[in-house]
Symmetry: none
Subunit: 207 residues, 4 copies
């Protein structure tokens, strides 16, 4: 868990940066506190669930003040979002081998592989919060949902151009079918997502 989060921030990503003044006075943001908060949030979510995940609890577990959390994130959901995106970054490549079916299958398999127990809890919480807090919903969309949707859309557009897409489907709807299935399993049935399902989806979406 900690290991995962420590990997984030390799490239100076500045997830919630403030200004662009090149030289600034004053103490700099504590990278240690940032990581402690992300880790604490992730751990507490696993232990107690999102309903009992509180800003106070995160700060206490992380050994920081609440103000430090509020200074850098709007609330608990954004902390979780950063933790998840930091984690998920490496796992979503965009294969382009020329074999559309292989590419699609690889993408789906990688996506499904990233949606496993520690992360699924966070994803479900984030999607829930996105419904409740529209402002967070937009950030969630921009940060997590859209990039993945666009990646798959690009992949499927290539297939479409090559005439490989199943009849009647557009890249957009095919994307929605794929992610719809993913999220429906996460949110509604809680069934696992495996390679077999990736195969089935590949066959259904392509000719």
């Amino acid at each position: 868990m900690a290991a995962v989060i420590e990997q984030a921030r390799q490239e100076p990503q500045q997830p919630s940066d403030r200004a662009s003044t090149p030289v600034r006075a004053g103490r700099r943001r504590s990278e240690e506190s940032r990581r402690a908060i992300l880790t604490a949030a992730y751990e507490l979510l696993a232990e107690a669930g999102y309903a009992r995940l509180t800003v106070e609890g995160i700060a206490a577990r992380a050994g920081t003040g609440k103000q430090t959390l509020y200074r850098w994130w709007p609330g608990r959901a954004d902390v979780l979002l950063e933790a998840v995106t930091a984690h998920a970054r490496q796992h979503i490549p965009l294969p382009d081998t020329g074999d559309h079916a292989a590419d699609l299958h690889a993408f789906l398999a990688a996506t499904f592989a990233a949606a496993t127990p520690p992360t699924t809890d966070a994803l479900r919480a984030l999607m829930a919060e996105a419904q409740i807090d529209p402002a967070f919903g937009e950030r969630f969309h921009d940060t997590l949902l859209r990039p993945r949707r666009e990646a798959l859309g690009t992949l499927l557009a290539r297939a479409h151009t090559a005439g490989a897409l199943a009849p009647h489907l557009t890249p957009a709807t095919a994307t929605e079918l794929a992610f719809g299935l993913l999220w429906y399993r996460l949110l509604a049935t809680h069934e696992p997502l495996d390679g077999q399902l990736a195969t089935l989806l590949t066959r259904t979406l392509l000719r």
Copy 2:
């Protein structure tokens, strides 16, 4: 809105009944309060969103005490669930004309037609709450999700038996694809669900 809710309870449905003692002494449940609470919850959701929908607010708007709400529902989400199911009941028939494609299309079109603005807000809130409160999640599942999934499953099983299902698909996965698309649009993209989409789905899921 109020009209919709007033229609519910035609058959004595006892949404959250207590015991089965046939005759009991004492004052009987106030139907007026029940309706006022359902209406107030629905209105407040539309006005302020789920984040600001509170038990206190509902009771105040309905002109009842909080205890009256807690006596008959576990919490705000269950009030909303009853309001939605009362509304949605009439709209989900299970057509069986022999024409699988027509049946499926009719089912999907009816389902999509029910998922329109006043209701979609409630559905999104309910799905969110189901992620946060697992106990409610089960009730949500049993009351709303499963019945619809089973209806579509039955319909698609008939098609499957007749060999009309698209290759590789089982009735279960086809159901997930359909509802996955529905919920993905509700939760993630907020795009409308129209008859055209029902046609596309029908063509994709059937041969």
Copy 3:
């Protein structure tokens, strides 16, 4: 300590009453919580001093919620004020024997006797808060200071009418001299107030 506070409220005094509606619905104010809060405040003041006397601490010690305190008092200072006035009520009679010197001495001696260690801490805190929060200052004035000033003023007015007041003095200034000495000792020198001082004041203020 507790004993003192329990004596308060003998006559239904209703220190911070709300409305005058004779019949009210709803649960009634908990006398137990009220007493627990007054006692907790008094004890914590003695143990930790006014600087560390917090609303949270009082509520925690009293075993009540913070809201219960805020429902009935504006803040910690008003709790202390009620505790002190409940305590001090019995100790301030207004003697009228005809012997002005004896009356004055009795009044001062009783006043000084009430200003002893457990109470003095509270009085100093109240006077301090009165300087910092003008709104509380007015309540402090109306509840505690003025009644005592008026009592002594009445006593000294009788002496004045009988020509017993020291030359140049009015009842008002004589009152200010007496209470000025009292408060100066409480706030500035922390010297004790004894019967000897009452005698000296009596001789100085009367002929």
Copy 4:
């Protein structure tokens, strides 16, 4: 206001000095920051009252860092104390003309004259803080209260030696009566202190 404070520091007074090393390396204390802090504190007190006078507010108004304030003063009260003593220094002479009544009256009149609106707010705040923070109370006592009490004590001791004190009074109690009246007016009644009152006090304390 600013003018008053700028006059302070004529003799190098070092209000809260550190060590006695005569010559030290490094940047020297900024007299500009010191004055800005004193002025800002005084202004903010007048504008917002002691309750809203914060270290952060003072530093922001003064254009300094908080650390600069904490480096030279223990807290906001000590800043105010320095501002007041700087102001009050010139106004309290110790007359000795041989005419005890004239001397006393002059002393009282000068003292009362110094206790006027801009300063009274600070005095009331200081006396309040002295009750709440005992450590500051001692500094307040040593810096402001005792010197004045000793001055008046000295004056009255001369009168006592000459047999001019009112019967039963000692220089100490007479001093307490005078300052008690002063502070009671400042803290409790907020009535002004005028020359007439000085006359009355002179007549009461002397034969």
